[in-house]
Amino acid sequence: MADEKQECELFSAGHRACGGCGPALAARLLLRATGKNVIVVASTGCMEVFSTPYPETAWEVPWIHSLFENAAAVASGIEASLKKQGRNEKIVCICGDGATFDIGVLCISGAFERGHDITYICYDNEAYMNTGIQRSGATPYGASTTTSPTGTCAPGGNPLPKKDMPAILAAHGAPYVATSSIAYPNDFVKKVERAINTPGPCYIQVHTPCCTGWGFESRDTIAISKLAIDTGLWVNYEMVNGVVEKAKKVRRKLVEEYLEKQKRFRHLFRPARQDAEIAKIQAIADANAEKFGIDIKLRKPAE
């Protein structure tokens, strides 16, 4: 199976994604993991738009997009239909964080509760990018977006924490929940393979930096995703039947190394450095490190 997958790319070049697009890389890796025997269900969003401008498509596997918020419900129907027909294609949803954390929660909750044999992948670029960088439930604390802008009365950017979707889906009884990052392609491919081969509803949240929305050079996409992990602001882990296994350990760097490279966090450093806000974000990373036990060697936060 693995050999066949490597022979050709099932996510074709020539799509309309920006150079350095994290989600485009996730799509390509996803299909390497699934091979041809898959049906992909997309939500409305950047990936849907850049990969399927009629009459062209980048998807060389069956692909369907219905609406913004209903991919999990559409996938439920496809699964029921295939079951009735005795077919065995894997069903994979690939949806952005707005579609997953916010508008699609009802459909996802229903599908996971019912236990459909589907894999739901959220490509998390931490805001509504297709509509012009608005805040979603996945936007991290402190990030400036067009709907959580900084201003004289709001110097800190997004005042709300990132929602813990993996925990919410694990609480539905999902047998396999994982986080991953395009910085580690083999990790993502392996997790997708595990998810699609695990019966029942599985969830993978893959960190896919958006150079346009986050404000960094397109050549730095992988470096930025690595820094998210190296600072503890993103943790790669697997939850099997609700229990965390295999969190990726790191020698942790200070969060400001990650923050200062992105325009969405620039207000924390210029015109004046906001130490208190940076400390709050460092505390989020510290809490992640504590919760998942990722520190190889703990470093003290900056004074």
Binding site: I39, E48, E60, A73, S81, K84, C107
Partner: protein, 383 residues
Amino acid sequence: MEIMEGSHAVAEIVKRCRPQVVSAYPITPQTHIVEDLAQMVANCELDAEYITVESEFSALSACLGASAAGSRTYSATTSQGLILMAEVCFNAAGMRLPIVMTIANRSLGAPLSIWNDQQDTIALRDSGWLQFYAEDNQETADLHMITYKVCEDHDILLPAFVCFDGFILTHTYEPVDLPSQEEVDAYLPAFTPYHRLDAAKPLSMGMYATPDYYMEFRYEIDRAMYRARDAFIKAGREFNEQFGRDYSGLVEEYRLDDADIALIAMGSICGTVKDAVDEMRAAGKKVGLLKIRTYRPFPGPEIVEALKGVSTVAVLDKNISLGNGGAVGTEVKSALYGTGISVYDYIIALGGRDVRKRDIAAVVDLAEKGEGDMFYGLRTEVL
């Protein structure tokens, strides 16, 4: 022939239409249908996947996915549930998926009302779904077979509402002649999807269209709607040949031949109107009924043809386009433009208010006096 509840008759005929995936959410007065179907699946009488979803929105979304994957699908809903599905309705039509849904017509809140009118389906008249309205439970059951045949025709490929009035038909026991499984199988062939999601033959469905393509997609849907006129007539004729009940008309005439005044209505109210027409005829009044069976596609040419020789038309609208009168009346006026026929519209029976034969006679009196385009039967004392 068996005496049975309208909802039960629907469930029985849907079972015989062999949907492979059923997905529905409970809402009054539709619930008896989906309860019956769930029981049939539990009893292995219906070989379908039954998905108990968390909302109507997901019910239709699941049907959309199942239909795209190549299965015959079914759902039923009403009122608020249908409006919650609205986004998926437009989407399913645009994707040309022949989903069939029974609608137990009911009013929309606010104020909350569980009772009958036809506001719910009328509100979705522009969604690209075929809309067929039944007068009684026999017609409701029969229309399901015809509807699947029309929808799944590869020249049509559109979803459809089979509409029957909430409570007035859903909860009423009437004699219904249900065809056997063998008879239904002989009439309705197995579903052969025009295209489907299939790893052996990859395709992309639901892509986005730039201004260079969008209008052509909409045009194609509109053409399919017009082709559905002939498809409905053909399926109705085939039905008549096999079962001896004729639904081949997009409209149905009742005592219109020499009529001066024509009433126009849809759904169960037509039964009351027919009785009222008989009484008025007995009293010497030349009045008849034109029943609209297919609201989408709209039978404009058939209405013009049927009303030749009529001087006055009274349209009974169990809905209102707030700020512009009833939807049926508006479209009838449009169809009759230039004929010189006087058309008066009456908003009637909203939110389950009863309509009696004397109300029909009163409407005819108003039309004769040239008084119309009004709410009929308002309780002015509570205004």
